[in-house]
Symmetry: C2
Subunit: 222 residues, 2 copies
DNA sequence: GAATCAAAAATTATCTATAATTTGAAAACA
DNA sequence: TGTTTTCAAATTATAGATAATTTTTGATTC
């Protein structure tokens, strides 16, 4: 295996584990045993521990000193917290990105929307949805802000996958199209307003604890 | 020294280094040599590397794979980015905290304001200022949000200390008093509006590169 | 100015000590 | 007699120390 010059074993393990946590292969609360993981990746426990720290920073794992690491748990309260943080941060990013948005970018965002609407499974929907948001926000040129938003997207994806693990129904994302239309016509404030409602929690009824209702709450995380 | 049961060598080193980076003892761009630091703390380099990862997550250090870690650099562009992120996140936190604010909390926030106004040096001013913000926001009960805000405060403090390293002049913080007054009278929206302006960058002229002007820009980071 | 070699420093591996968890047996109780 | 509780030994896993391996960097020579 030829490892990249600019990434370390720790970051490679971190990415692999993040993927598993987000997709739900590793369940919330599950222990992350460093020796087992080290063995699986053919490495020692030192880079594994560094990978754990990276996951901790992304909010995907939690450290219990002298007791190891666990996959971070999450509840509806946290879904809501993440959604609200995304709402305000994405609006901030969009406002700064707007002056730098080009027709080409909006074109690609449109394509991402189409890809999302025609997705056959939740995985590809999530990828397309994330691409849409990334495309519109990246031109803001604020690296720290974008990094925070990425981490929140990862958290959102966990919730999404946990709810739609088995089935998935395609649906047209009217918000995305409305945002694009507003941006094309120079109505930046309106685009920001739609984005805030789209991502955030405003007016979304907290779901009851019943499993079926929970899914409905999760499904609206855009 | 008897080490606490629930904190690790890595976190202890991390806190010590964070303190140095924030206070400016370690300069932006400076290399963090793991062997030297390990020796200084009487530990091996393994916990030192974990400490570096923690600092990286807080945005105080940057990793250059295969080349080690450096103290994170910062420029006016990043000061602005941090200020704007703080503005939107602190407003979000305040809105959720308001229903849980008690007279006792406002009392303590008032005391923190007085402490800030009578500070003789920038260190104690920063501590009092941070306490003020923490007191008002903590009741929001959103741990992830509060953690993000804490990291941004650390970044703000770096800028502050870098500008006011030698001298410091006391000044009365009218914004803090206005926020408290609004909260006492139940005008939450107005409190949030003042906080947003207070923390953020709106209407603040970006300073010229000349050192004297830069200080002025830094000084307004509340 | 390019290339080669040496020194330094980062990354990873191996090993050890210590803390946490589990297991199982004995005792207490119903 | 059966069940539960408690305590100690054994097992397991984490955290850290030490050692080995690359990789980078700086100097020196061609």
């Amino acid at each position: 295996m030829d490892k990249q010059r600019d990434d370390t074993i720790a970051s490679r393990i971190s990415r692999a584990l993040a993927e598993r946590i987000i997709s739900g292969v590793l369940s919330p609360g599950e222990r992350l045993r460093q020796d087992h993981i080290a063995e699986e990746f053919g490495a020692s426990h030192v880079p594994v521990r560094e990978a754990f720290r990276l996951l901790e920073a992304q909010g995907l794992a939690v450290s219990e000193p002298r007791r190891g690491f666990r996959v971070a748990a999450f509840d509806l309260k946290e879904v809501r917290e993440v959604a609200e943080m995304r709402a305000v941060l994405e609006v901030l990013a969009l406002r700064h990105a707007i002056p730098h948005l080009t027709a080409a970018i909006l074109e690609r965002a449109e394509a991402a929307t189409v890809a999302a609407d025609t997705s056959r499974d939740v995985r590809s929907w999530e990828a397309a949805n994330r691409a849409f948001h990334r495309l519109l926000l990246e031109p803001c040129g604020m690296p720290r802000l974008l990094a925070s938003i990425d981490d929140l997207h990862a958290a959102s994806a966990r919730f999404l996958f946990s709810a739609w693990r088995t089935s998935w129904e395609a649906r047209t994302d009217h918000d995305h199209r409305a945002i694009l239309a507003a941006l094309r016509e120079g109505r930046g404030d309106e685009a920001a307003k739609i984005l805030e409602r789209h991502v955030g929690w405003i007016g979304k009824t907290p779901a009851r604890t019943a499993a079926g209702e929970t899914r409905e709450a999760f499904s609206i995380v855009g």
